[in-house]
């Protein structure tokens, strides 16, 4: 595949690792994938399922955006419609935005980067043969599959009952219309599959916890010679912070969802105000997980950006320890800000003030990261390859998402902006504009390593531009709609808001097209891509020191790690279109 004299390639016995033996063709058949304990294959399987859920959630998004652009969404036109039809239409809208949120959050963003890129890259970056507990890793993938099948059943049941209403006495109602937050008391009354959906999320939580356990143990125990904590790649620091949150926050979601199931199934009266329960307690429990979960999403994205920005700027990362510590700071601070989701739900003024203050404090480590990335690029040798374009998009979108977060963290402005499209735009900038963008950038960056194929830079850049433009078209206008008072989660609006919705829907289709182009690029690369060199970017983290794609065992002998960001060790070699060790 490649003639690069990687450090270990010379030492391998020919029988085991000739140039064609890699993890992809090491063994064949369905079982060799479904029950593999190889972290690379598990990462790839996660990647495929998560991209499928991105597609599913994206379809829901396009449906709900289309519904909002139709004339029926304008209240002025409601007189032209049969009220029963209108109600039905709004019911469908409720299902669409809930399913969009639930699928995207639980099946795409939360597992996304740790499970796909983390699983694939983490052991390679550590120069290890696998994660600390390979069987547990496989178990967590299987649990993920079970959890996603339960959520898929919720969808299927919704479709079945919609098509054959006679089924509902037997299988109950399907779909989900509570919003992805499952707030009580509505989740007690809703005629949708709340119990199944929450149980699915509960199961997915276990997958997340086990991945976190695995990553923490791997980073503690499997670091190679020469890699102390402060020579660990920053992506691993970010994953460490993520794993802490996965461990400490996810079980609280688990117990919350169990209580919700008990509430709905047995009417225990813990959360339901109709039974003298406390619905605010549910909100506290829910956000105690779900706010840190925002950092489960965004921390690994920041880690990806830290890797990409230094590799494609050909310059040592600026402020290594600041970036590393800020990951941990974000992880810890993230536990103490959940109350900012509840400023208007009757919390005491004192609690509001404290939560507001703590919320602002999270912006400090976040800003540290942004400034360090910018300083890394300063006077670097920037290669505007596709991953780097995603880095630039990330920095801009994250800055917008982060700065608008300050409006929402401030008590006075939050009263006005709470539950409007402003907040929808804010969290899409953070979750999608940052996490999805970083996920795509990371996928492009490690694509040659994962598949052994290069992708088309031209198509990649066009797709990135479309995603960037489409994203901003869709969501920037929502800041304006929200500040003008457009409430979130409404199926209809007054005439004043129509223009915002039309622009937003148009942008959504541009964005969707861009994402399809990304998918096309990847598939095209798999079929017709040029073979990838071992180190196409000249990055110095250990995963680039094994061949592309890596052999089954990653490294025959544990490599010795040096400074992960010393770019001077690698020089470009035109003949293989990749980088080789400078001293070879």
């Amino acid at each position: 595949m490649t003639s690069i004299p990687t450090p270990h390639a010379n030492k391998l016995p020919e029988s085991q690792h000739n140039s064609s033996d890699n993890y992809l063709n090491h063994s064949k058949g369905f079982m060799s994938w479904a029950f593999t304990v190889d972290h690379k294959r598990i990462g790839i399987m996660y990647g495929i399922s998560i991209c499928a859920f991105l597609l599913l959630g994206g379809i829901f998004a396009l449906i709900l955006r289309t519904m909002l652009a139709l004339p029926i969404a304008n209240i002025d036109n409601h007189a032209n419609y049969d009220p029963a039809y209108l109600k039905h239409w709004m019911d469908i809208y409720n299902h669409m935005f809930t399913l969009h949120g639930a699928v995207m959050v639980f099946l795409f963003i939360i597992p996304g980067i740790p499970a796909v890129l983390g699983n694939f890259v983490l052991p390679l970056m550590l120069g290890a043969k696998d994660v600390a507990f390979p069987k547990l890793n496989l178990a967590s993938f299987h649990i993920f599959v079970i959890g996603s099948l339960i959520l898929a059943w919720v969808l299927l049941k919704g479709v079945l009952v919609a098509m054959f209403p006679g089924l509902s006495p037997y299988i109950g109602y399907g779909g989900l219309e509570t919003g992805w937050t499952f707030y009580t008391p509505y989740s007690m009354d809703s005629n949708s599959a709340v119990v199944e959906a929450t149980f699915g999320a509960f199961v997915l939580g276990f997958s997340s916890i086990l991945t976190g356990v695995n990553f923490i143990a791997s980073m503690h125990m499997l670091r190679p010679k020469g890699m102390n904590w402060f020579r660990m790649p920053l992506f691993l620091w970010a994953l460490y912070g993520t794993a802490i949150i996965q461990l400490l926050a996810t079980p609280v979601l688990a117990i919350t969802l169990l209580l919700l199931i008990a509430e709905r199934a047995f009417r225990v009266g813990i959360f339901d105000p109709n039974l003298d329960g406390d619905p605010i307690l549910y909100q506290h429990f829910f956000w105690f997980y779900s706010h840190p979960a925002v950092y489960i999403m965004v921390l690994p994205a920041m880690g990806v950006i830290s890797e990409l920005v230094t590799a494609h700027s050909r310059k040592h990362i600026f402020g290594y320890s600041f970036i590393a510590y800020s990951s941990i700071a974000i992880a810890l601070l993230g536990f103490f800000v959940w109350g900012h989701h509840m400023f208007t739900s009757g919390q005491s003024a004192m609690a509001n003030a404290v939560f507001s203050l703590l919320t602002f404090s999270v912006s400090i480590p976040s800003a540290i990261k942004v400034f360090n990335w910018l300083s890394t690029m300063y006077r670097g040798e920037i290669h505007l390859r596709t991953p780097m374009l995603y880095v630039l998009s990330f920095i801009l979108l994250f800055a917008i998402g982060g700065l608008t977060g300050l409006f929402l963290g401030a008590l006075a402005t939050d009263i006005h902006l709470h539950d409007t499209y402003f907040i929808v735009a804010h969290f899409h900038y953070v979750m999608m504009g940052s996490v999805l963008i970083a996920f795509l950038g990371g996928m492009y960056h490690w694509w040659p390593k994962m598949t052994g194929k290069m992708y088309s830079e031209k198509v990649g850049k066009i797709a990135c531009a479309m995603v960037f433009v489409g994203f901003n078209l869709t969501f920037f206008i929502q800041f304006i709609a929200g500040s003008q008072g457009m409430p979130r989660r409404y199926a209809s609006y007054v005439d004043d808001y129509m223009i915002y919705h039309h622009i937003s829907t148009g942008g959504a289709f541009v964005l969707g097209t861009g994402l399809f182009l990304v998918l096309f690029n990847w598939i095209h690369s798999l079929l017709k891509g040029a073979p990838a060199p071992a180190n196409p970017w000249g990055a110095n983290t250990l995963e680039w020191q094994c061949s592309s794609p890596p052999p089954h065992d990653n490294f025959a002998d544990t490599p010795v790690a040096g400074d992960p960001y010393d770019m001077t060790e690698w020089q470009y070699d035109e003949s293989i279109k990749g980088y080789v060790k400078a001293n070879d």
Partner: protein
């Protein structure tokens, strides 16, 4: 080469990378110490998630207890403190045998290891047995989890939830009048601490009726005399529990004097100033609960069932793990050189024990 695994029992991997490996060390670890430390680290990390998971329940408990203290004071007496104490002893003992088993495994004492694991497992069964007795006795009294609980106000719930017809919540134990439950539990074992009904809870603004003629409690007529201070507080361990048929109308003979060892000063204190029993416990009957709190009494039992139920689930998981370790010990898998699984399962079992150590006082021993 087949996929190699972390399970040291699978020694299928061949040493395709040069250096000879201990068969108990998975291929991605360099040394046994590294593997053992990883396993323990992973287990500790996982146990932290368990703590956090129960933490949610403890938090819910704290909030409900703080907001509805009277309910907890009133309802916890229906839990059986003796059975709870027996279970505590059982679990603590099994935790000790488990710790001893870990030591035995480290020293390579095979027979002792098997014996201790068997005792630990037996402790698990004992715990479940006692729990079974407890749960069934609660069920017989109508203290079910969920909407079937006798304290659950079904009509009120249907009204607030807007449920009717086939969707309405239907009680199955409605014939169990709350008075019966109260008598059944407060009369049983002779610990009928609900005696002085003249007391008030001023901060709640509740003023109980001066004449408790509607009261069907099993008390002596002497008790209604405010002057009869010695009879105000009863510690009547000598009194037999009423037979099932007698619950409504039985009169339990209560000794006029306090039990030996009780400070006479306490016994002589005027009842109206002492909303507490001889041990300083708040004493309440259902009638004395503020009206707003009456429909919420079932919350205590819901929390009780949720907390102990989740704990029982963990006991079951722990027992399965111990059984697995026991089978492996019988097959002779463990030695001085390799015993980490015993250690790991031991950690889990200690967690199960630890959680019970918190549950027991929080649910059974409330003051």
């Amino acid at each position: 080469m087949t996929d190699t695994t972390a399970n040291p029992n699978d020694t299928a991997h061949n040493s395709d990378h040069g250096h000879a490996h201990d068969p108990h060390v998975a291929h991605h670890f360099e040394t046994k110490h590294q593997q053992n430390t990883s396993a323990k680290l992973g287990m500790w990390a996982f146990l932290s998630t368990e703590i956090l998971m129960f933490g949610g329940l403890f938090c819910g408990y704290a909030i409900y207890r703080a907001n509805h203290t009277d309910i907890f004071m009133y309802a916890h007496k229906m839990l059986d403190m003796k059975l709870g104490a027996i279970n505590t002893v059982i679990l603590l003992t099994s935790s000790m045998t488990m710790a001893w088993a870990v030591r035995a495994a480290q020293l390579g004492q095979q027979q002792l290891l098997k014996l201790l694991l068997a005792i630990t497992l037996l402790g698990g069964f004992g715990f479940l047995g006692v729990k079974y007795v407890e749960y069934t006795s609660k069920f017989h009294s109508g203290l079910y989890p969920g909407a079937r609980n006798a304290y659950f106000d079904v009509e009120q719930a249907n009204k607030s939830l807007g449920l009717s017809g086939e969707y309405a919540i239907t009680p199955t134990m409605k014939h169990w009048h709350i008075k019966n439950i109260e008598n059944h539990y407060f009369g049983k074992y002779g610990v009928h601490w609900q005696v002085p009904r003249q007391y008030q809870i001023p901060e709640l603004g509740y003023h109980p009726p001066h004449h408790a003629e509607h009261d069907t409690h099993a008390v002596t007529p002497a008790e209604h005399h405010a002057d009869d201070q010695a009879g105000e507080v009863r510690e009547s361990l000598t009194v037999e529990a009423p037979k099932p048929g007698e619950l409504e109308h039985s009169t339990i003979a209560v000794p006029d004097n306090g039990p030996a060892g009780v400070n006479p000063q306490i016994l002589k204190a005027p009842a109206s100033d002492k909303p507490e029993d001889h041990a300083g416990h708040h004493i309440l009957t259902y009638d004395q609960l503020p009206e707003l709190e009456k429909p919420r009494v079932h919350h205590f039992f819901q929390i009780y069932y949720l907390m102990t139920g989740l704990h029982v689930l963990h006991v079951l998981i722990g027992m399965s793990l111990i059984a697995w370790i026991f089978v492996r010990a019988c097959k002779g898998h463990f030695s001085k050189a390799y015993n980490v699984p015993v250690d790991i399962v031991g950690l889990y079992w200690h967690l199960v024990d630890l959680i019970w150590i918190f549950l027991f006082p929080l649910l059974y021993l409330i003051h």
